[in-house]
Amino acid sequence: MVALGWQVEDGLVLENSLVGSDIGRMLVRAPEITSTARPGQFLMIRCWEGEPLLPRAMAPLSYDTVSGNVEIFYRIMGPGTEAMAHASAGAIAHLTGPLGQPISDRFENQTVALVGRGVGITPLLPLAKHIVATGGGVVSYLSARTSSYLFGSDEFRALGPVKSRADDEGFADQMVTSLLEETCETRRVDAAYVCGSRRLIQHATSIGDRFGFPTYVFLEEKMGCGIGYCKGCPIRLRDRDEYRLVCTDGPLFSAKEVALA
């Protein structure tokens, strides 16, 4: 019988430490899931026994198919991410993945803007590598509260120009999308991929509308399972009274397709 695209794997926590007051970085060895993960996908992680009950959805910054490691940045927001912060090297990380729709488009001769803030930067790096590998170019617009939270900025820089804004560098009142707007005045942008707050998404989308390119958004919604069983992560369609599930239909959606207000 054919197998589903995802699987359950007991991974091994290799490294886990805080990179700031409320952001942690975890490196997990999970060769099975890593070998099949594609850009745009995420996984569910539970690296604790007992409470809390449910796993947490995470979009890794990188999947290293050589070492079999996934690198995850997480913001400590509640009991699940607190439990993540307490996991020691050597702990078992129960993983389910890769989940969600993979991005398999080719990007020949396209210039793609990547816009992310904070931990929202993480799903953009696997995508950036894919875009460049299929013949496209990327310009990355990264923002965060502090410059140390501009995750993977060196790797983004190796793939194309990076424009960044960190609040602690005196840019707290400027959204990184204003830099995208400047770019659009002088050169062609074919598409934008955005992950961050709804406000960031809306700014990027309106720039896309003005300059005539499509905007795609990575969405987040509270999830029970991540695998389409619980129907707990709806996003409403813009033009009709129907929902899609962020876990199985997304997490990437065309901004035109979904109601983001």
Binding site: A3, G80, G224, C230, P234, Y243
Partner: protein, 310 residues
């Protein structure tokens, strides 16, 4: 010689007593590595409705201590699309198929039961009388009269085993269980979720988009067990126990309380391989305890005087 895992729910024969709770499992045409749907005692569908409906707005789920609140609101493609597009995909499932149906009137219950009964793939119908998340807010299984009306409506149109899924949000579960029996149900499924709420202290608003939701998970297991125990004593119908099962021991507790089979729900969200693990665990439990059959455990916790199975 290994013990018999088989069990029966009325005329429904099951290879083993483990099945998913409606709405906590799905079938997308393939297995994931490490588990196989055909090893389950039965497959139970998400509840379907006669007409398509979108379900509730977000936030639909919230985590609570040892539990999970949900207000999913039964997103459904409607019966027509279910029969033409979804059900045919279940052909590969390879175990008993129980379709859960949610009707809003006895007329709808008749139509749905009749049409499901024409489908050779459907082995049993679970009639969901207890969804707490629908707009009008009323739960059929909070009323004896409505329970009798809805169950008997479905009963007049189906020869299939008819399982009544009841709500714990009642004063007397036995009264409602008797009403389901009176309406012609072949079995009880106990329990659906317990009504609950959670509030975000930052926004000062309810966490769930629907304000109230249904609580599931280990937090509700003692409630479910007590209701299974009571109904085993008082009602002459086989029982499928459900509510907070996370491991083998929980299943054995439900069997001892009087369940002939069990449904495993929320824990699948935590660990999708759980049902598979429980089935293996139950096999070895029966062997090591020297129990010949699952049947031998059912209701063992009761003193003499229970009605079913005696």
């Amino acid at each position: 010689m290994s013990a018999s895992m088989a069990t029966t729910i009325g005329s429904l024969h099951l290879e083993n007593p483990i099945m998913p709770a409606s709405g906590t499992f799905d079938w997308f045409g393939a297995d994931f590595v490490g588990a196989s749907v055909n090893r389950l005692g039965a497959f139970v569908s998400k509840s379907i409705t006669l007409e398509p409906q979108p379900g509730n707005p977000p936030q639909r789920v919230a985590e609570t201590p040892s539990g999970m609140l949900n207000a999913i609101g039964i997103p459904s493609v409607g019966l027509d699309v279910f029969l033409s597009e979804v059900l045919p995909r279940y052909r590969d499932i390879g175990t008993a198929i129980v379709v859960s149906m949610q009707a809003y009137s006895s007329e709808e219950a008749k139509i749905m039961a009749a049409r499901l009964s024409e489908e050779p793939l459907v082995d049993a119908i679970e009639i969901n009388l207890s969804c707490p998340n629908l707009e009008h807010g009323s739960i059929i299984a909070q009323s004896r009269e409505l329970t009798v009306e809805m169950v008997s409506a479905a009963r007049t149109r189906t020869h299939l085993p008819l399982i009544a899924k009841l709500s714990p949000n009642v004063t007397s579960i036995v009264e409602i269980a008797r009403a389901a029996e009176h309406g012609g149900a072949d079995a009880l499924c106990l329990i659906n979720t317990v009504r609950g709420m959670a509030i975000d202290i930052k926004t000062r608003r309810a966490l769930l988009g629907h304000l109230m939701g249904g609580l599931s998970g280990p937090a509700i297991k003692p409630i479910a067990l007590s209701m299974v125990w009571e109904c085993f004593e008082e009602v002459n119908l086989p029982i499928i126990g459900a509510g907070g099962i996370v491991r083998l021991d929980d299943v054995v507790e439900f069997l001892l309380a009087g369940a002939s089979a069990v449904q495993v729900g929320t824990v699948t969200f935590r660990e999708p391989r759980t049902m598979e693990a429980i089935i293996k665990g139950l096999e070895s439990h029966l062997d090591t305890e020297g129990v010949g059959s699952v049947h031998d455990l059912v209701g063992l916790c009761h003193e003499e005087g229970s009605t079913y199975g005696k």
